[in-house]
């Protein structure tokens, strides 16, 4: 079986588990994004067909919720929290520093596809603001120096040992 077949089988299991219910669309999209990494057009056609939903409805739902991604993300993802506490504590400067250091823009990836930068509205880590998430790991009370160093380490292929 190819990777594609395995993934499709995984998706099929999720669909079955949800009884092909139209109302489970969000759950299915969550799982699909987990399986495939992002949601591309073909996948959406597939899901729409399986649930017997109009494609425009599925597309509308995917684009409404900011958690769903339709573009392939970079190998490593750094997400800056733009919650109030982080904003007040100057996360903006950290974002600018990352943009400058790694030559990418918010919402985009570096040219080599190794790193993407995104923003999120509050990860609930407000007491240790400003917070930046690097590949599922929260960097609390972040400064631009710490964040850039951690990103460099991750890009250099070192395992992050600080947690």
């Amino acid at each position: 079986m190819t990777t594609e077949d395995i993934r499709r089988a995984q998706l099929e299991r999720v669909l079955k588990k949800n009884n092909y219910q139209k109302s489970a669309l969000l759950e299915i999209l969550h799982s699909a994004q987990e399986i495939y990494g992002y949601l591309d057009q073909n996948l959406l056609v597939d899901i729409a067909g399986s649930l017997n939903l109009p494609p425009s409805h599925v597309y509308g739902v995917v684009t409404f919720y900011s958690y769903f991604k339709m573009r392939k993300p970079g190998q490593h993802i750094v997400t800056a929290c733009l919650g109030t506490a982080c904003y007040v504590k100057g996360v903006k400067q950290i974002i600018e520093a990352i943009e400058e250091e790694f030559n990418l823009k918010v919402g985009g990836s570096t040219a080599d596809g190794k790193l993407s930068l995104s923003l999120t509205r509050c990860i609930g880590a407000c007491a240790m603001a400003p917070a930046v998430v690097l590949d599922d790991q929260v960097i609390g009370k972040a400064t631009k120096e710490i964040v850039i160093e951690r990103i460099r380490n991750v890009l250099a292929g070192e395992r992050d040992e600080s947690v």
Binding site: H30, V61, F68, T84, A85, V88, S118, C126, M128
Partner: protein, 549 residues
């Protein structure tokens, strides 16, 4: 399973725990994990074994203690000794001193009695004290007794009556009487009925509900089952942000435990009552926390609110009567049932009973999750609990109620925490966020930041919120780049008033609050920006940051 089984489990568990002289609670919530809570937990387990005290000392993984700024936090019972910023390196020293020698290691203790003194922990009664992954822990502190009491000795009407008596009001923001709401759904004719528990805490700067779910998931579930009995619902959903993996895990585990113990499913505790519970995941839409939008989202659609009437109590999920309740509200329910509505009225104010959880953040000495009785003043929260402003800076404003709350100055710090008083000064209870700003913050920029947030999160359905906020942003952009005119202040006021009154849902109806409160209390800063082209905090008039996705 029935009531006597629950009692038996509680007794067994208490018996088991009494065998230990000490209990070390390691906070493993989202606030402490990034600082190495799991490593600390492991270190304690190892140290206890190595020092041969595993028979008198139990090491437990718990939820949030509430002091998120000093993580990882470790609580040692008896005596509630709170250790701060524990590292795997000093674990052995603590065990050696506190457990083996019986002398608390003072140099690592969190020495701040003020933080807890004015708090009153009802909803967070078990947070940091029990292991959220063990249902026995919850039962041992009286968990599911309230459910058993309802099912065995109370009628659904009786339950609703008790809740009505307690004066409990919805904690999700609007503050509607909970008893009344349950009554409406109970009286609705259509079946089946549904319950949706709202854990879509989309507000930036707020993490109270997440912490509750991480620390005490069974309290939420028990509250829901009791509600389902009162209104005769057979299916419930907990709608939770997908950004909360730990809370999701805790709830999933708790639901599975409840199912296996016959606390969920058919014939709950041997009675006729039937209730099933599922998690539904949000996907990053703040508006989905709105009452009608959450229904759309649970149905797998775009979370666009719809006008009320018809109210969800009559026509909610799939057109059926639906009770929508914030999880904090639900966590109060077991307490009220166990102790009675009159007991609950002893907390807070006569017309606003009980407590409220707040995430206290921003430029403050003791950030964290707090629970305070209604009626406490903002000043007490900022200075007594929060410990004031760090690094000798001056207080400037406190934001109460999330992105659509109000920015309040020093002069109204004596306002009480209750729905009406907050409204009077221009803020809202919202879902419970308090962010403290110091003199380095620009109020125009703050209002602009919240407007940006609300624009980003507007669903786009109604004209005032979608088009109105976008034009408000244009005006802010003008002011922040030095092109503002005095007339713009009047336009801001006029458009804000219109958006509040004409918008479809709570998001639009409250989105201009930060604008109106900053105009009310900090108008001179707007004038400075416009006339003198000056930003006293030095934030505006810089190169524009095009950050938002």
């Amino acid at each position: 399973m029935n009531l006597s089984d629950i009692q038996r489990i509680a007794e067994e568990e208490n018996e088991f725990q009494r065998a230990y002289k000490y209990r070390i609670n390691v906070c493993c919530s989202s606030g402490c994990i990034p600082f190495g809570a799991f490593k600390v937990l492991k270190a304690f387990e190892d140290a206890v074994k190595e020092l041969g005290v595993e028979n008198i000392c139990k090491v437990a993984r718990t939820g949030c203690v509430g002091t998120c700024s000093i993580g990882p936090a470790v609580l040692v019972d008896p005596g509630e000794y709170l250790y701060q910023c524990v590292t795997p390196e000093n674990v052995r020293e603590i065990v050696q001193g506190h457990i083996v020698s019986g002398v608390p290691v003072t140099k690592y203790l969190y020495n701040n009695s003020g933080y807890f003194r004015k708090q009153r922990r009802l909803v967070l009664r078990n947070a940091g004290k029990i292991d959220p992954t063990r249902v026995q822990d919850y039962i041992s502190v009286g968990g599911y007794f309230a459910l058993a009491k309802c099912l065995s000795t109370m009628t659904p009407q009786g339950v609703i009556q008790e809740i009505t008596n307690s004066g409990l009001r919805g904690r999700g923001g609007a503050g509607f009487s909970v008893g009344q709401k349950w009554g409406l759904v109970a009286r609705a004719h259509n079946t089946p009925k549904y319950i949706v528990a709202n854990l879509d805490e989309g507000d930036p700067g707020i993490f109270a509900n997440r912490t509750l779910a991480e620390a005490d998931p069974h309290a939420i579930i028990e509250g829901m089952i009791i509600a389902s009995y009162a209104i005769d619902a057979q299916k419930g959903y907990i709608y939770i942000r997908s950004e909360y993996p730990l809370a999701i895990e805790a709830l999933q585990k708790a639901i599975a435990q409840a199912k296996s113990m016959n606390l969920l499913g058919d014939n709950i505790l041997g009675t006729q009552h039937k209730f099933d519970l599922e998690l539904r995941f949000g996907a990053g839409a703040f508006v989905a926390g709105e009452e009608t939008a959450i229904l759309m989202s649970v149905e797998g659609r775009r979370a666009q609110p719809r006008p009320r009437p018809p109210y969800p109590a009559n026509q909610g999920l799939w057109g059926k009567p639906t009770l929508i309740q914030n999880v904090e509200t639900l966590a109060n329910v077991p307490l009220i049932i166990l102790n009675g509505g009159t007991w609950f009225k002893g907390f807070g104010l006569p017309n606003c009973t009980g407590t409220k959880c707040f995430s206290l953040t921003g430029n403050i000495n003791n950030p964290g999750l707090i629970e305070v009785p209604m009626g406490i003043t903002l000043r007490e929260i900022v200075y007594d609990i929060g410990g004031g402003i760090p690094s000798g800076k001056k207080f400037k404003a406190v934001l109460v109620g999330g992105p659509s709350g109000g920015c309040l100055p020093e002069s109204v710090l004596d306002a009480q925490i209750d729905y009406d008083s907050l409204k009077r000064v221009g803020a809202i209870m919202g879902s419970g966020g308090i962010v403290v700003l110091n003199e380095d913050s620009c109020m125009v920029d703050t209002a602009r930041y919240f407007t940006d947030f609300c624009i980003e999160e507007s669903c786009g359905k109604c004209t005032p919120c979608r088009a109105g906020l976008a034009r408000v942003k244009d005006i802010f952009d003008k002011i922040a780049t030095g092109e503002g005119e005095l007339n713009d202040v009047d336009i801001l006021e006029k458009v804000s008033e219109y958006i509040i009154n004409a918008s479809l849902c709570g998001l639009g109806q409250t989105a201009p609050n930060p604008i109106l409160t900053t105009l009310r209390y900090f108008r001179e800063e707007y004038i400075e920006h416009i006339v003198d082209k000056k930003c006293r905090a030095g934030i505006c008039f810089k190169k524009e940051h095009k950050g938002d996705e």
